[in-house]
Symmetry: C2
Amino acid sequence: MDKKTKNLFEARAKIIKALAHPARLFIVDQLSHGEKCVCELTEMIGSDVSTISKHLGILRNNGIISYEKRGTQVFYSLRVPCVLNFFSCVESVISSNAREQLLLLKD
Amino acid sequence: MDKKTKNLFEARAKIIKALAHPARLFIVDQLSHGEKCVCELTEMIGSDVSTISKHLGILRNNGIISYEKRGTQVFYSLRVPCVLNFFSCVESVISSNAREQLLLLKD
DNA sequence: TGGTTATTTGGCAAAATAGCCAATAATATG
DNA sequence: CATATTATTGGCTATTTTGCCAAATAACCA
């Protein structure tokens, strides 16, 4: 694999890795319904604020979400809505796996 | 976040995590052109066979690829082609980030 | 059967990730 | 200004992931 190809796939993996966490997927899902402040997301997820802030930082640094500061609050929104397309495919993988499991049980 | 929601997003993250590695993305990309044996993928990627085999195991265990044994070789193929849709979105994130970088340089 | 090739598995050390607490920064408000 | 609120950052430990080597497994062939 030449260097250029390697860089390409590393860049792609970096973006996907930024999404590869339950809390971060939940955040993306929530932001698809409109902007949310850190406190709202923290409330919903139920981890420490610092933890949520770090998750937001990962999504932000990878250009998946954007933010706007208003007063003491920071509001995040989805910058690249196409990531929502991931969900339907992931869902089909999950149900396909479940069907496979059922088939195996029949043996 | 209730338990059901938590489980849902954990299941989704597990699938996405399985894809979140340069070598594994490369494998998915290659398999989109047709089945490949472990030796071919190993040759292309240039890591140890055992490393490639473990990557394949992760994709396989998450239902993203399937395999068929023929003789001493094992041929892998893409089980859920919709994961290829990820690439175009990821690409748009990357180019959007690049444009953002350019804007920042102008300041 | 013995040897060869292809692949997987076990085990280990290094690196990356996650999540908490404490400390800091920024802004609003009395 | 002092204090409260909201969010980010630093630092730490625990956990997970990665990738190599060595060993085991499987199928083919002489």
